[in-house]
């Protein structure tokens, strides 16, 4: 029921925002989308927009991604956080025009695990930031992107 209340609150807040012309209709439900973060052109700015400060390097974050990606349009990335109470995972491609690719917030028993596919413009570090118990942890892995890759 609490969830329903939250949804209703979110909806009414969004409706109000639309009413005041603050948002275009299409954006109403995505009110929590981190515009500043996703529109940052530098990794450091994106991290700032995510509220990340003093992220500690951690070996408990496992990034599974290819060393060499033959197709930069489909780079499989799987992140597993073994850090207790992982609340969120953010994935950045350092040299993309807009480095922040995604943020995943977990609740109600979701494991600190996510698997997706990214677009990468060029060879770059994939940077992962994990939030756990209000603290930030980070890890990265280099992925080489073969331009015009036809395999082999």
């Amino acid at each position: 029921m609490n969830q329903m209340r939250r949804t209703l609150l979110k909806l009414s807040a969004a409706a109000l925002a639309v009413g005041f012309g603050l948002l275009k209709t299409g954006q109403a439900l995505a009110a929590t989308w981190n515009k500043a973060g996703f529109e940052s052109k530098a990794t450091s700015d994106a991290l700032k927009a995510l509220g990340v400060s003093g992220a500690q390097p951690s070996k408990d974050i496992v990034i599974s991604a290819p060393d060499i990606a033959e197709n930069g349009a489909q780079v499989p990335v799987t992140v597993t956080s073994k850090i207790p109470n992982t609340q969120s995972i953010s994935i950045l491609a350092d040299k993309n025009p807009f480095p922040l690719t995604s943020s995943f917030d977990f609740a109600n028993g979701a494991e600190g695990y996510v698997s997706t596919k990214l677009k990468m413009g060029q060879s770059s570090n994939v940077i992962v930031v994990v939030k756990a118990d209000g603290r930030f942890f980070t890890a990265s892995k280099e992925v080489k992107v073969t331009i015009g890759g036809c395999g082999g």
């Binding site: 995943f104 979701a110 695990y113 698997s115 997706t116 990214l118 677009k119």
Partner: protein
Amino acid sequence: MAEPMKIRAKMEGDDADVKVLMSHPMETGQRKNEKGELVPLHFIQSVVATHNGKTVLDAQWSQAIAHNPFLGFRIKGAKPGDKITVSWIDNTGDKGNIETTVAAP
């Protein structure tokens, strides 16, 4: 009109392993069509997954997620028969959703 999605949820140990495929062009706003015009930015911004009605995953995406996005996640303590839903909304307000039940291992 939203394109079809695919979903599969299956027990793996104590977790339900959920895999989702969405149909979406995920345009970056930087690609040109055959006439040399820029194809406008068009991408899924938000994805929400629930387990028996409770939100388990709330994701925000940029245009850098690959087209026809794949998403995998795991839910601890789920049981066969539990209901899983996944819904998305893109930057134009288009939406999609799908549901399934967790299958036994």
